[in-house]
């Protein structure tokens, strides 16, 4: 029994419609080891975690946790009973409760058919924290007043109090400072020495290399290698993550010579704020400029700074050679900057309204200038065809459109103003392949035909390589690479973003 591995997953398959998220992945973790899990965005790591944690069913394959076979349709409760706990980035702690209370919430309050015994609740919390190697834990402090590393420890302690012997940590350090990372890692090591298996999912290769005993790399929904940390190096891991570049990639489109050397329309110099920077960027007309990086790299913070949605800590911007310091979207719009926010549902679609109302959500006319509904409807039908929205029916509720078509309406909303600079964040997140291709075509064609400067902010490296004319790669809030058209490939972006 004790020789059973902590996690033993074999040949796990998960298919979503046309996409195969996991194509027969194996993943095995020993007791008492810290095991890293590496891979690009979309390699299948998150899907594996969701299946292991019982949130999602697998289509095929076996999963054993500490010797317990888990059925195909299992539940988070069963996984917990088998002895595994999952620490997500959202730790699920109640900030207005004490450490002891939070730990008790995860297990149960200690009662013996009598009112809650707070003394025992505190003792249980102290025991769990001591197991983590925390000396003299203060379990009465409010969780909201703790730094992030300590909160993570509380979440881990809660799992331990629930008798977990396998811990899966999904990007625990994404929002942490350097010192905090060290604290967390010290305690994780103490835990592993006590026989608890830890799985660490991270994009930060140096952290993985520093902490882990072994590492497994995922690519395209399958494991492509497991290495002992002492017998591998960074270069080998990067090549495992990237794989061999695909042969026969489409030749790069030639960029017209006259726009190639065009003066930048928007420049960022030493811009910093919201956890990123300082950043120097040039956005040129007639080009698709990509800003990319791994999920926690801060590339999505760049448009927020440029648009004045987040306060700028330092640096400056120029638009067409003149200083530019917008105080919000309406300033940007007046200056000729169009914007598509990254979260389609929360920040983009007004669900209760029609397609037309969504497309012309904020008409550019002064507030008192009336419009003819009939003319607007004709114009809208034309615009919808131009943006390839299907079906092109202005009066239909936008809620009835597919995600891809909703996204096209959002692109259209910004494009009907004919902006000079078009900033488009994660335009194809969660939409089907056909719509994705159409959106890529749209981005390229507005850029080529009107000389618009298109800024594509994306976490999808394939998209970055397919659509971009120039790419800026961020890592941990810093600009780590600038790739021109002929250097730009999925492999190059991946290589630059890990590290």
């Amino acid at each position: 029994m004790t020789s059973d591995p902590a996690i033993d997953a074999r040949d796990v398959v998960r298919v979503y419609g046309a996409t195969t998220a996991l194509a027969g992945a194996d993943f095995s973790v020993r007791r008492g080891e810290i095991h890293g899990l590496l891979g690009e965005n979309g390699a299948g790591k998150s899907t594996l975690v969701r299946i292991l944690s019982g949130i999602e069913a697998r289509d095929r394959g076996q999963v054993r946790i500490l010797g317990t076979d888990l059925p195909r349709h299992t539940s988070p409760r069963d996984v917990m009973d088998a002895g595994a706990a999952f620490i997500h980035q959202d730790l699920g702690l109640v900030e207005d409760m004490s450490v002891a209370e939070n730990i008790a919430l995860g297990t149960t309050y200690v009662t013996t058919r009598r009112p809650i015994s707070y003394a025992q609740v505190r003792r249980q919390a102290e025991d769990a924290l001591r197991e983590l190697g925390v000396e003299n834990p203060d379990v009465d402090v409010m969780v909201g007043r703790l730094p992030l590393a300590s909160r993570t420890l509380v979440a881990i302690a809660r799992a331990l109090a629930g008798r977990a012997r396998v811990l899966v940590l999904d990007e625990p350090t994404a929002a942490m400072q350097g010192g905090e990372v060290d604290t967390l890692f010290r305690h994780l090591r103490a835990l592993a020495d006590a026989g608890v298996a830890c799985v660490l999912i991270s994009h930060r290769m140096d952290e993985i290399m520093r902490l882990c005993d072994r590492v497994t790399v995922f690519r395209n929904g399958a494991d492509v290698g497991t290495r002992e940390m002492g017998r591998t190096d960074r270069a080998e891991l990067v090549s495992l993550i990237i794989g061999t570049p695909e042969a026969g990639a489409p030749p790069p489109e030639t960029v017209p010579a006259d726009t190639r050397s065009a003066e930048p329309v928007l420049t960022l110099r030493g811009l910093s704020g919201d956890g990123v920077g300082p950043i120097d960027l040039d956005i040129r007309p007639g080009e698709v400029t990509v800003i990319t990086g791994l999920a926690d790299s801060g590339h999505l913070a760049v448009p927020s700074l440029v648009l004045g949605l987040e306060p700028i800590a330092g640096g400056r911007m120029t638009l067409s050679g003149r200083p530019f310091a917008p105080r919000g979207i309406s300033d940007c719009r007046a200056a000729g900057i169009g914007y598509v926010p990254p979260d389609r549902l929360a920040d983009g679609v007004a669900t209760g309204l029609t397609i037309m109302e969504n497309l012309y959500l904020n008409p550019a006319r002064p507030w008192w200038k009336p419009a003819s509904i009939a003319r607007a409807r004709r114009q809208c039908a034309e615009d919808l065809k131009r943006f390839r929205v299907h079906p092109p029916e202005p009066m239909r509720s936008i809620a009835t459109l597919s995600g891809g078509n909703q996204q096209k309406v959002l692109l259209g909303r910004a494009l009907v103003d004919d902006p000079r600079v078009f900033i488009c964040c994660e335009p194809t997140a969660g939409i089907d392949v056909g719509a994705k291709r159409q959106i890529h075509g749209l981005l390229r064609s507005v850029c080529r035909s009107t000389g618009m400067a298109v800024v594509l902010v994306t976490s999808d490296f394939e998209e970055a390589a397919d659509v971009g004319d120039r790419a800026y790669v961020l890592n941990r809030g810093r600009l780590v690479a600038q790739l021109s058209k002929h250097e730009l490939s999925t492999a190059a972006v991946t290589a630059k973003s890990f590290g």
Binding site: T19, G328, A350, N362, G434
Partner: protein
């Protein structure tokens, strides 16, 4: 872009087309049910008018009765329009009818107690209503208090103010007020009083603004998804503050008309108008443009409720007792709103089935 590629990318419309081609009966049934939902309140309105006219031809189906109901309920309609405007932006204003009551008290009081001329009294009273709206706007937009709580505060505050101003006594003018003033409430045009025409005029203006002006689009945008509106360049705080102030002014206009109608003032007169007004707004949102607060729906709903109550009262006996009006207003709203919410979710479920299925299969991958 070939036709096939289009269809491949967006399977939803394909499905719709094949379903309707295969099952014309279901499509027709659906159209009928959509029609019934859309015109439920107008149909109810007609049913009540015809039913009550048949039951009480000698009292209900008379010119005097119809014009009286239309005129008397005009103030409710004005307050309902103000409330609807705010609810479109996602805010709720409990203080509206108390604003009406305050303005009514001030309009009379300033003439009788302070000996001001009636136009000046009206002007000052309306300024007071704007001040109340500005206070609401300050609390909601600057202090970020939820509008429900903030206007609950001003609602209570206002009753304190008028009790203080009137000394908790009714004002009965010793000599009659100028006819120029009382005409605002009593003069009739085509058999209908000035307040009715003011209400209709306001309805038309608000309808036009919401439909044809960019301002109306922005108001809808703020109500539908405030964050999206902001990221599209709308300034939601300006829009919300503006509607709160304008709605307060509209409620104030109702107060002036109320004062002119009665030619006197008593503490709290008018404050009870809030209940039928809100009932009208919510019932109105179930019809004409179902699921959305709309002007035509509000107008029809206010008068449907009014004629229903008037008809019941004329039936006599138990139906004319005091508890009938609030009970029926309340019940109608509860039933109508629940039914429309149920119908809305049912229809959404059916329409969104395909796209939900797609959402759960695509793009759940790591992003």
């Amino acid at each position: 872009m070939s036709v096939r590629e289009h269809a491949g990318a967006d399977p939803a419309p394909e499905v719709v087309v094949t379903t309707s081609a295969r099952r014309p009966g279901r499509e027709n049934r659906q159209q009928l049910s959509n029609f019934l939902w859309k015109y439920s309140v107008p149909i109810l309105f007609l049913v009540i008018l015809i039913g009550a006219s048949l039951l009480r031809p000698e009292t209900f189906a008379t010119y005097t009765n119809i014009t009286a109901v239309l005129s008397i309920q005009a103030l409710v309609l004005i307050i309902a329009l103000a409330g609807m405007l705010e609810m479109l932006t996602g805010e709720f204003d409990l203080s509206l009818a108390n604003n009406t009551a305050l303005v009514a008290a001030l309009t009379i009081g300033l003439q009788v107690k302070q000996d001001l001329s009636w136009p000046l009294a009206i002007g000052l009273a309306l300024l007071a209503s704007i001040a109340v709206g500005a206070l609401n706007a300050f609390l909601v937009v600057v202090m970020k208090v939820s509008s429900f709580v903030a206007t609950l505060g001003t609602y209570t505050l206002l009753s304190g103010v008028w009790i203080w101003y009137l000394g908790n006594q009714a004002i009965v003018p010793e000599e009659p007020l100028p006819t120029g003033f009382t005409n605002l409430g009593r003069h009739t045009i085509l058999g209908l009083t000035v307040p009715f025409w003011v209400a209709i005029g306001l309805a038309i203006v608000i309808f036009a603004v919401l439909k044809w002006l960019p301002l109306g689009r922005r108001i809808h945008a703020v109500g539908a998804n405030r964050r999206a509106a902001e990221l599209a360049g709308v300034r939601p705080r300006h829009i919300v503050a503006g509607t709160l102030v304008v709605a307060a002014l509209i409620a104030g206009i109702a107060g002036v008309l109320l004062a002119a109608q009665y030619g006197g003032a008593s503490p709290g007169a008018g404050s009870a108008l809030i209940f039928p007004a809100f009932a009208g707004v919510f019932l109105g949102a179930t019809t004409i443009d179902p699921g959305r607060f709309n002007v035509l729906g509000t107008v029809l709903a206010v008068y449907t409720l009014a004629f229903m109550v008037a008809g019941l009262q004329q039936l006599g006996g138990i139906w004319s007792e005091a508890w009938v009006t609030p009970t029926f207003n309340g019940l109608t709203v509860i039933v109508a709103v629940s039914l429309s919410a149920w119908a809305f979710s049912f229809r959404e479920k059916r329409a969104g089935k395909d796209s939900l299925a797609r959402l759960s299969t695509e793009g759940e991958d790591e992003r």
